[in-house]
Each structure stands twice: as C-alpha cells, then as structure tokens.
Symmetry: C2
C-alpha cells in the first residue's frame, strides 16, 4: 500500500487534550504505514506558508507524551480565509502546497470556524479535481459545536472548574464568618454557558457551591443577598458571555479577533464592585482564563480517551473512503455512559454555536437542572496519571523538523 | 496518664495543607491517649464564644481525609484581639473558657497575626498562673514567616503556580503568531514575592516562561516588548503586592481587614490595559486568587508531609514540656534536601514579614537568581494521590459535634 501523505494541523484556542487527538492521528498513521506524516505549524497559516514538519522524526516517547501536553503542540492560529466568492487565491495556494507534498489526507483539528475553513478547502479541491480527503476533528472547551454530543476539551475544563469550585467553596466557608462572604469565579465559554454549568457538578445539597450560576444576565443581587443570609456566603460562577439587556456583552473589551469575535474577560471585577457597592460584602474573585483550558495536570480521562480516539479513527476512516466530514461523539447510552464516533457533514457544523437549551436552566435563571448535570457528568469521569520530574509535569517537547519547501514564498496573494 | 484536654484552632487564610496539620495534631493526640481533643470553630472567635467541637467523635476516615481537604475544616477567622494594655476583658474570657473545659494545651495554626494572638494569650495565662501550654503552628501560602525555613502551604501553592505557568506558556506559545502575545498571571503573596518567584521553577532556558516576574514595581513595558520581539510572546507573573513609586499598592482596592491590611487583587487587568495602550499587543490575563490556595488536588507531597509532621510534633513536644513557641521547619541540608522541626519564640515570629532578599533578585528586577530557585525547589517535590468519586475529589466532611457550653454567652466584654 502506498497511500498519499497525511497532513495534520491545529486551529483556534488550545484545549487540555487537543494534543491527545494529534497523538491519535500520528500513532494510527504510523500503524497504517504512511511514509509521509506531516503537521503544519500554526494551522492553515502554516499550510499557506508551506511551514510543514516531519512528524515521523519525533521520538515515540514525545508522541506518547502529547496525550498530557497542554497547548497546541504544532502551534495554532486565528486566521480567517476569505470566502470562495471573495477571493480564490489562498485556496489555489493551499492546493499547490497539497500537490507539492503529495498530501492525500488533511485532518484539521478545531472549532466551528475551523470546520468552515476545511469545508471551503474541500469544496475548492473537489472543484479542481484534486483528490484530497478532508476530515474535521472537533475540539473546543466551549462545548458549543453542533451535532456532536460533546467536544473534546470540554470534559477536562468541566472537571477543572467543578474541582476548583469545590475547593474554593471550602476555603470560602472557612472565612465567611469574619471575612469574605462572596466569591466570583469567572469562566470561559463565550456565548454558551456549558463551562459555567459544570461548576455545579459537585453540588450535592442546595447549600453547596455554586449558589449562583450567571448564565444570562439577570438581576442577581437579590440572589446574592439571599445566599449570604441563608448559607453565610455565596459562590458565583459567572460565564464570560453574559449580556446586558441591550445585548452588549458585560465583559466586552472593545477588541475583536480575525473572525470579528469580541475579546472577552474581566467580568468578575465588574460584578465584585457592584456587589461591594450595593450590598457591602467583602468579596474575592478569580479569573481562570487560560488556567482552565491549559490544565492538563487535572484533565478528565474520559476527555483524553475521546480526543485520542477521534484522531485514531480519523486515519482509519479516511483510509476507508470517508471524506468532507467532521467526526462527532455520539452518545449511545447515558446510564451507563457509552459513546461511539459518528460523522457530520462539515457544512452542518461550521459557524453554529450550541448553547444551553432553556429547559436545562431552572426558572430562577441561576441554576441548571438535573437533566443538564446528567448530561455533563460523564465528561469529567476518570483521572490522568502524568510523568513528573523535579515536582513538575514532563511534557512533550517536539523537535518539529521542517520539511523542505518546494514552492516560492507565500506573498499573501498567489 | 490523665493529661488535661487539647484545644486546636485555625486562623487566617486557609492553605491547601492547613488541614494536614490538623490531622497531625488529632492523630497524635489520639495516640497519646488524650480524653478530650477539641477544636474551636473559626479560631479565636470560637474560643471567645465557647464554640468547641469534639474531634474524637469524627470517623478515622474523615480525620485521614483532612490531609487532602482544602479550606480550614474547623473554620478560620480574621479577628484581632486588643493589646493587653488596651483591654484585658477578652483574655479573661479566653481564660475562663480554657478553665471551664480543662484545656491544658492550646495549638493555634496560623500566620504572623495568629502568633501574635497566641503569644498574648500565653502571656496572660502565665500572669494569672493558669498552666496553659501554647504552641503556634505555622501556615501561610505567602512564605513570609520569620525564623522557619518555609511555611506549610507555600510549597503546594508554589507547585500549583509553577505548573500553571508551564501549562499556560504552552498555550500562549501556540497562539502567539496570530493572536495573544502577552499573558499576565496575578498571584497572591501580599508584600512578599515568594509565590511570584516560584513561577520560575519550571524555567529551563531563557526563552521559557515566565519572561517577567513583577516583584517590585519597575518600568516593565520595555521588558515586555523585548520578550515579544525575541521570543514571540511574553508571560508575566505579577505579585499582587507590587507598589507605585510613592509606596501605594498598585492593586489596592481601598478596603482593609480587621488587622488594617489592605485587600489586594485586580492588578492583572490594570497591567493588561497599560500594555494594550502603550504596546497594542493582544493580551490575556488570569487572577488565580483562592484557586491557588485551595488547590489541594495539585498539592506538593513535601508540603503535606511537613504540615502533618508539625501537627504531630506539636502534641509530642507539648507533652515533653515545650511551651510558648512556634514550631519551625529547619533546613539541615539543601542537596539532598533534608529538614527537621525546630522552635522559635512566639514574640520573635509575630508580626514580621520576610520578603525575598535583594540578592535573590537579578539586577534587571524581573528575574530571580539560581540561589532563589535552589531555595524554592525542594518545596514542590512529590505528588499527592486523592480519592475520587464521580470524577471529583472526596473531601473530609466533618460532623463538628458541639461540646456543651459551660459559660454564659459571650457579650463581647467579659
């Protein structure tokens, strides 16, 4: 068997397990006997600039260590391609790079924007009769991708946030009598509240934290006072994506990225000042930001397993003729939890955000239903075991040996 | 043997291992055959209000689980006693509570302020010929206590911050080409930079994170630009205690606690806005706040071991006649690291803050020396293994069975 070469690339914000998917792709590609297994550095940007590296030159230990290495080991990007109607030049360049390196299989690991990108590339290559198998591999901590039951990355962040919530609430309970009464934990998730909802996974009684989930923006000060009056303190888990009545994001900074998405962050201190001003409680707040999405030391074993399986399956299915799809996680049973890998057409996944449905949020707006927690709970099961040296985790440190360029430099136009 | 009873209490901000010290005291007290082993709820506040609980009524599993339970399991407090010259009434009340419950040994687990408190109590009881053995047990994540080589709690926070720094830096490196170039991690530590310094424990080459430690406030924007120019990105670990030239804390909120300490926090967004305004780099920031000091899931085994040993030793030494001291960690060897437990007189420890000495900070002001890292490294060695259920750690959930009160309610005056 002499298959064409494989190209793998990573896109969008890293997750604690995006490299586990890379590991799955690479180990399956090696098993299948591919002679060329390449990765593009910094996603589609690296394809355009022909910045490819030879993955077969990495040590087996380094590849195995990808399973617990945070960040995106081959570099990621936020880079928006124009539509095919606007400008075909970048697509022509991508096609040239694929041809120059005899790429037959392109695996793109990313969120909704990335599946839009790979869908456009697939369409362009088909129109130009270049046989490129394009498979999208889902990843996002926000868990907002369509069709798939969940997205790798989310389970580990849910586990980290649920654990941190329990830890902080014990700290807060210790101090509340004479000191801090309100704690606000700001979490990511953009316009979807899934990460905030996962804060409640350790809540076994009504008095346990979190006392308030800020999913949509509602008048929450009365709920804060009620919690402090009844429990003695109040733990608030606030999603960065909550909005004012007029639709503006509370945490909007005014900056936007390449896709026009607003940069979020900084909600917690705004809420804290409001609580101090209106209720005069002593508060503390934390913004978990990259801490949560890089926390491979606290990853969910279920999440790592699914992320790896997606990468491994992508190679096997591509060899069986699957093309122009994103792989999904399909839940086949909730109790006990069981799952399999399915497919979704790229066009159905791209640019859609799946938020928490209204019937999973309690009428008060500050809590999620048992059905929501039942949906979330399987994703945080199981703990990882990491190699440690000198008290710190040992990560993959890839060599990223460059593949010789065969084309002229990319000038952004051809 | 019919010793008098033991009273244990916790004070100040919790650490990931303050309950390991409680576990040491309790298990040693049970071994020694004490018939009354009590804990005061919420530190000295609980002593004044006679809120005592019977520790011997807790299950052995619950006591053992204290080793990995965050928060202060018996409640903590920020509560300042007046000086003996100002008002002896609270001390008279404390003496009455000690007498009423036949307390012969008082173990107070706290930071600098707490050792001031226990020193005053010890002095008052001695003047009134009540034989109360008073032993202070150090705990603070800030590592700023005098005489002891380190304080339990610090090692685990150092491990958490060093791990988080490595994790986030891999995330940041992934994104820097087309997105975030600067990351700011705000850490605790008050006026001492030890926690910020520990961010550098995983820095193996000059290009590794952290690129800038903000210990004192210095003009740092040029250093940010230099890092982005040379490495591609910049990871800043900023201590909450940095100051303006005029001595004001940059992160001061205007609020103070019972000891007159300023509430700190919120430095990271201020620095981020400055970087955006002056250098126009895309940034992200996190404020770790209680996340770091409650992170028992990521605790240092060395830290847990020392915290437990302090509690255990306190009971043994008290029975041997030791009194009016704080137990310390004494380093007997650096390579290999070896330690033993020593003592310091309470008066020498109270109200002193040990900051990073100037000769452990490099001339540029943004890095610590190898000598500083050599001092810090032993504290983060070893990992803990926690019981998990349903994907989350299982903590001690104490019953806290109240001891019947024998005195009239505390009215704040007698």
């Amino acid at each position: 068997m002499t298959p064409k070469n494989i190209l793998y690339a990573q896109s969008g914000g890293p997750t604690p397990v995006i490299n586990a998917t890379a590991c799955g792709v690479i180990q399956a590609a090696k098993s299948a006997g591919f002679l060329g297994v390449y990765a593009a550095l910094n996603g589609i940007y690296g394809v355009l600039h022909e910045n490819l590296v030879d993955v077969l030159k990495e040590s087996e230990t380094n590849i195995e260590y990808l399973k617990h290495t945070p960040g995106a080991a081959f570099g990621s990007c936020r880079y928006k391609l124009p539509s095919l109607e606007e400008d075909t030049a970048p697509y022509e360049r991508i096609l040239q790079v694929m041809k120059a390196h005899d790429i037959g299989y392109f695996f793109y690991n990313g969120g909704g924007d990335s599946h839009d990108t790979i869908h456009k590339i697939s369409t362009y290559c088909q129109h130009n009769n270049y046989p490129l198998t394009c498979i999208g591999l889902p990843k996002t901590i926000d868990n907002d991708l369509a069709i798939t039951d969940n997205s790798p990355g989310f389970g580990s962040v849910a586990k980290y946030i649920a654990t941190t919530t329990q830890e902080i609430s014990l700290d807060l309970a210790s101090m509340a009598l004479t000191s801090t009464k309100v704690f606000i934990l700001e979490v990511m998730g953009r316009h979807a509240g899934w990460i905030a909802a996962s804060s409640a996974l350790g809540k076994n009684t009504p008095t346990h934290a979190p006392h308030i989930l800020l999913l949509p923006e509602v008048a929450f000060l009365a709920a804060v006072k009620e919690s402090v009056d009844s429990v003695g303190y109040c733990f608030i888990c606030a999603s960065e994506g909550i909005r004012h009545d007029d639709g503006r994001l509370v945490s909007e900074t005014g900056d936007t990225d390449a896709f026009g998405h607003h940069q979020l962050g900084g909600l917690a201190p705004k809420l804290a000042h409001l609580i101090k001003e209106k209720l005069d409680y002593k508060y503390h707040w934390a913004v978990s930001d990259y801490c949560q999405r890089a926390a491979s030391h606290a990853a969910s074993l279920t999440d790592v397993t699914q992320a790896y399986a997606l990468g491994e399956t992508a190679v096997k299915q591509a060899l069986s003729g699957l093309n122009d799809v994103m792989l999904t996680i399909q839940r086949t049973s909730s109790n006990p939890y069981a799952w399999t890998i399915g497919t979704a057409s790229l066009g159905d996944v791209a640019n859609r955000e799946i938020c928490i449905p209204n019937d999973m949020i309690k009428p008060n707006g500050f809590e999620v239903t048992d059905a929501c927690l039942d949906y979330l709970r399987p994703f945080i099961q199981g703990e990882v075991s990491l190699p440690y040296k000198n008290g710190l985790p040992v990560y993959a440190r890839l060599n990223c040996k460059p593949i010789s360029k065969k084309l002229s430099p990319y000038d952004g136009r051809q």
